[in-house]
């Protein structure tokens, strides 16, 4: 729908509500839908402005990196200050603008933050400071915080989160502290909550969650010393947690607006499908059971696991059985690691083949019942991938595999057509 048409529809809603043609809930949903659509249009237009600010800021840093050492210190310091002054003036203009312009705010905040990073780097260069990359990134991130809150900039929030992640990565292993990482990322939570309250399905909310979650996960993963031992339980617990949190807050928005769900489902599928291979359960595989390695994991890993299981218990209490069943891979891996038991790899792989098949069928059935084509299709995709993986894993010839792929592909297409008819019926 065009912008004027959407505006006209929104202006008509109070009258339609008064006349009893649409109820209050429907009117609210329509308002939210068309506000999100308008928001997207603004975002697309603003993207070029933000990208421009980002490129100019990065260009300034590269120009500074050339090191114009034939110039005096005073002149070089003055030049380093120019982009900073320009960025700060842009921030003042952006904050004064009425009505507020999101593009202006985002661009000004990003440019001012990058100008500061460039100025700090140039001072380090002029006075030949040592290379503490971790301290440099942390300083840039912390100084960016008041700027992002002043201008309510979500692009800067992501840059700050990236700087936090870089800070953790640049630290020596012994200095990495998961609680400090949580504290750093907690500083961004008020911004995310404000964006979410404004509109949970806007591009801003999706953008923030879509970037901040993986960055936080990477930063936390870097702090776990025995990551190789606990990777399976750590990542599968995160996948489960994201699915459960999305169920609590996600509603019925489109999948593209639910990054929690997308990451969670992908993570879950990855581990459930990996567990269908006997190698996954071998001692050298993903599940390392020697010495009860779960208890060697950091407190944060165990906290994530407990939180995911608590939300699963809540789903079970509400009789959401499919959602509850998604906890099986995490639970089995956690138990295997906690009690240091080595289960027979072939039997476990067989069990997980049956489990993934059952989940796929249950998802299709749920999708048909609720007339949700996307859900039904994802169940179908899961089963198709499971079948194809069996051909990858075996010692089949290329001819047999080729025929199998064609048959599965045709069956998949036919099933999709059947599903479309069934759901739309």
């Amino acid at each position: 729908m065009t912008k004027p048409a959407a505006a006209w529809l929104r202006s008509e809603l109070p009258e339609l509500e008064r006349a009893g043609i649409v109820d209050a809930a429907t009117a609210a949903r329509l308002r939210a839908h068309y506000r999100a659509a308008a928001d997207d249009g603004g975002f697309a237009l603003g993207l070029s402005g933000i990208l421009g600010a980002l490129l100019v800021g990065l260009g300034v840093i590269l120009l500074i990196a050339y090191n114009w050492d034939s110039w005096g210190r005073g002149l070089r310091l003055s030049i380093a200050a120019l982009p900073l002054i320009a960025g700060q003036l842009a921030c003042v203009v952006a904050l004064r603008r009425t009505p507020p312009s999101r593009t202006w705010r985002e661009s000004a905040a990003v440019f001012a933050a990058l100008a500061f990073a460039g100025a700090l780097a140039l001072v380090s260069q002029i006075f030949q400071f040592g290379g503490d990359l971790d301290r440099y990134l942390l300083t840039c991130a912390l100084v960016g915080l008041p700027l992002l809150y002043a201008l309510d900039s979500s692009v800067l929030a992501v840059l700050v989160a990236a700087a936090f992640t870089g800070w953790v990565g640049a630290q020596p292993d012994a200095r990495r502290e998961p609680l400090l990482v949580l504290l750093a990322f907690a500083s961004l939570v008020p911004h995310v909550v404000a964006a979410w309250r404004e509109n949970p399905h806007s591009w801003r909310s999706s953008w923030l969650l879509g970037w901040l979650l993986p960055l936080c996960l990477i930063a936390l993963s870097l702090t776990i010393p025995s990551m190789r031992d606990v990777a399976a339980v750590w990542f599968s617990a995160w996948a489960l947690l994201l699915i459960q949190i999305d169920r609590e807050i996600g509603g019925d928005a489109a999948l593209l607006r639910r990054p929690l769900r997308v990451y969670g489902e992908l993570g879950w599928a990855l581990f459930a499908l990996a567990a269908t291979f006997p190698d996954f359960w071998e001692p050298h595989g993903f599940v390392r059971v020697a010495g009860g390695s779960l208890w060697h994991a950091h407190a944060v890993a165990i906290l994530v696991l407990l939180l995911a299981l608590a939300l699963t218990a809540r789903a079970a209490w509400r009789r959401q059985w499919l959602l509850t069943a998604l906890a099986v891979p995490t639970l089995v891996i956690a138990v295997a690691q906690a009690i240091a038991v080595k289960w027979p790899p072939n039997a476990m792989a067989l069990l997980f083949n049956a489990y993934v098949l059952a989940i796929g069928i249950a998802v299709i059935a749920d999708g048909i019942r609720g007339q949700r084509l996307r859900e039904a299709s994802s169940g179908l995709t899961l089963i198709a991938v499971l079948v194809l993986l069996r051909f990858f894993g075996g010692e089949w010839s290329f001819v047999v595999r080729g025929i199998a792929f064609v048959i599965v592909g045709l069956a998949f297409l036919a099933a999709n057509v059947w599903l479309r008819r069934k759901v739309r019926a």
Binding site: Y66, N67, F116, Q125, Q128, F129, V143, L147, A150
Partner: protein
């Protein structure tokens, strides 16, 4: 307090921080460069690339192994005050490290890089690079390699004041690196 007012206050805080940090670093370093005592340290440069800060000559220092006094629980990563003196060859000598600053004389704040069981430690100095522009840095590295086996080693001058130390200049064959490169055909 209204939301716009909070926005202005936060912007003011951001602007103050964005100026205060680089300005205080620059002011302190400029003060040390103008008023600090000069020392010379032997070096061994190489040339990596730093994406954030341009090209530089990475510095490793000779004579950074020191003996630690007994009676303190020395650990790697610990910050220590190291007294400085000048030897007969005019190069700096490091004194006995201490957790606290000495009452008299010049000193620099360094970090213990590694602590051996024999009571010896390696110092990590607060500077590890000398920035040059990207045209000069590779030539500087080549120049160092050419002179590294000669009796005239590469060295740096530093300025030291109240524990703060700032790197001043890199010398190759007793000339500043810029003058050396300008006079040497490449």
């Amino acid at each position: 307090m209204t939301a716009p007012r909070i926005g202005w206050l936060l912007l003011a805080l951001a602007i103050v921080l964005q100026w205060a940090l680089p300005a205080s670093l620059a002011a302190r370093s400029e003060y040390v460069l103008r008023h600090g005592a000069r020392y010379y340290l032997r070096t061994a440069p190489v040339d990596p690339l730093d994406a954030f800060r341009g090209r530089y000559v990475a510095l490793r220092f000779a004579d950074v192994e020191v003996r630690l006094p007994a009676g303190t629980d020395w650990r790697a990563g610990m910050r220590v005050a190291v007294p400085l003196s000048t030897g007969a060859d005019r190069f700096a000598r490091f004194g006995v490290p201490s957790p606290t600053a000495p009452a008299r004389g010049d000193f620099i704040i360094a970090t213990l890089g590694s602590v051996g069981l024999d009571g010896r430690a390696t110092l990590v100095l607060p500077f590890d690079r000398y920035y040059l522009n990207e045209r000069l840095a590779p030539a500087a590295e080549r120049a160092y390699r050419e002179v590294s086996n000669s009796p005239a080693p590469a060295y740096v001058s530093i300025r030291v004041r109240d524990g703060a130390a700032v790197l001043e200049q890199l010398f190759i064959d007793n000339q500043t690196v810029q003058r050396y490169l300008a006079r040497t055909p490449r």
